[in-house]
Symmetry: C2
Subunit: 238 residues, 2 copies
């Protein structure tokens, strides 16, 4: 078994916070205020799924960094129109800031507090720094450090992000563990020499859609939530 | 009066933590273990004062970034010899890591916790990220975010550090306040458009040396400690 890591870095959207449920609640609230009904789950899914191709365009062209806030806003505007919502600019910007207020999964804060007793804990997210700071303050996430793709001007799964994060922690890659609910993120981290922990988040895409929650045998740890992750890593430490 | 800031960034060495007292305690402990007596206060002062010229060399030559940990180690080695200490490499490295264990001033944690209720609070230090993370964990400093010169590959007082920090916070410079016990740091921040708060730390250089604790009228706020800073900023908010 690999040596116990010194730091745990967490993917955030879907792994630490429930983006879909949080967005649906905010969208429904805006809808009620304007007397508009729509399938807010589908709205949230389209909003989220648009971010990958937009990010990939940034990844192909180093010269044109755009933050996740900017990417979210660009995807949001046509979605608002299509849903039949007529919002003022301030309302649009406030809705876009819903991503700064996403709620943690029920186990996140308790699990992180327990993990923090043994490890340096931090984010490693494609979200921009200000977004991650706001999420942490709103959700009382007890991070030791906030690391973002923004610091490296590269988005995950580019290796610069994982390698750069380990360097900022002053640690060799193998002393850092990425924790994520997404196997592609974990695979990219592993290629850079990091340890990996897969945490199942079956509700990330709502009840309707099946998330891939089968065990990932390439990972050092598989866990059902952060508290169970803590339990497993504490056992490993003995 | 300037508009209330949204984020407070703190210089760390001398402003948040008592580097001199902490180093003297660690040096005296090493001395006792090896039966060596020396003026550990003078040792600490020389160690600290060597960092400015070393840093200035990095500031003049962008291509050769060196972390504060590296700079501290380079200054430390001849000092150890001169003090008549014979240390193994592991002991030297552990002594160099004393900078990762510096103790907060008595008001720091309480003041920061109170300020955190109203503002985003973070570091803005020349210390490298891993050093600042360790300081925060050891001293239970409740930062929302850790920002370091290392992120910008420029040392304070280069403007890149202050401008870059505000950008990462997603804020205009005028919405950010630098809190520091050093007037040159504050002056550089002010030239970049940040608000500034001078906090007096008369003991930074020990009883013998007079720190410059006269009021700095160019600053938006002058305070005796972080709790008083909180009190003044809370009044301003009304």
């Amino acid at each position: 078994m690999a040596k116990r890591p010194e730091a745990l870095l967490f993917d955030v959207f879907g792994t630490v916070v429930d983006w879909r449920g949080s967005l649906i609640r905010e969208l429904a609230r805006v809808g009620r205020r304007h007397g508009v009904r729509a399938d807010w789950g589908a709205f949230a899914d389209t909003w989220r799924s648009g971010y990958r191709p937009a990010m990939d365009r940034v990844r192909r062209d180093d010269s044109s960094w755009r933050s996740i806030d900017e990417i979210h806003l660009q995807i949001l505007r046509p979605l608002i129109k299509r849903a039949g919502l007529r919002l003022r600019l301030a309302e649009i910007l406030d809705l876009n800031a819903a991503w700064h207020r996403l709620k943690p999964w029920p186990d996140s804060v308790r699990g992180l507090a327990r993990l923090k007793q043994h490890f340096v804990i931090g984010t490693l997210s494609n979200g921009n720094m200000s977004l991650l700071i706001d999420l942490a303050r709103a959700g009382r996430l007890p991070w030791d450090v906030i690391l973002s793709a923004e610091l490296f001007q590269h988005y995950k799964p580019d290796p610069e992000v994982y390698v750069g994060a380990a360097a900022l922690l002053g640690l060799p890659a193998k002393a850092v563990m990425l924790v994520a609910a997404h196997k592609d993120d974990l695979a990219a981290a592993r290629r850079c020499g990091l340890q990996t922990a897969f945490v199942r988040r079956p509700m990330e895409h709502g009840r309707a859609l099946d998330a891939d929650v089968s065990a990932d045998r390439r990972c050092d740890v598989n866990a059902d939530d952060f508290v169970e992750l803590a339990r497993q890593l504490e056992l490993q430490a003995r």
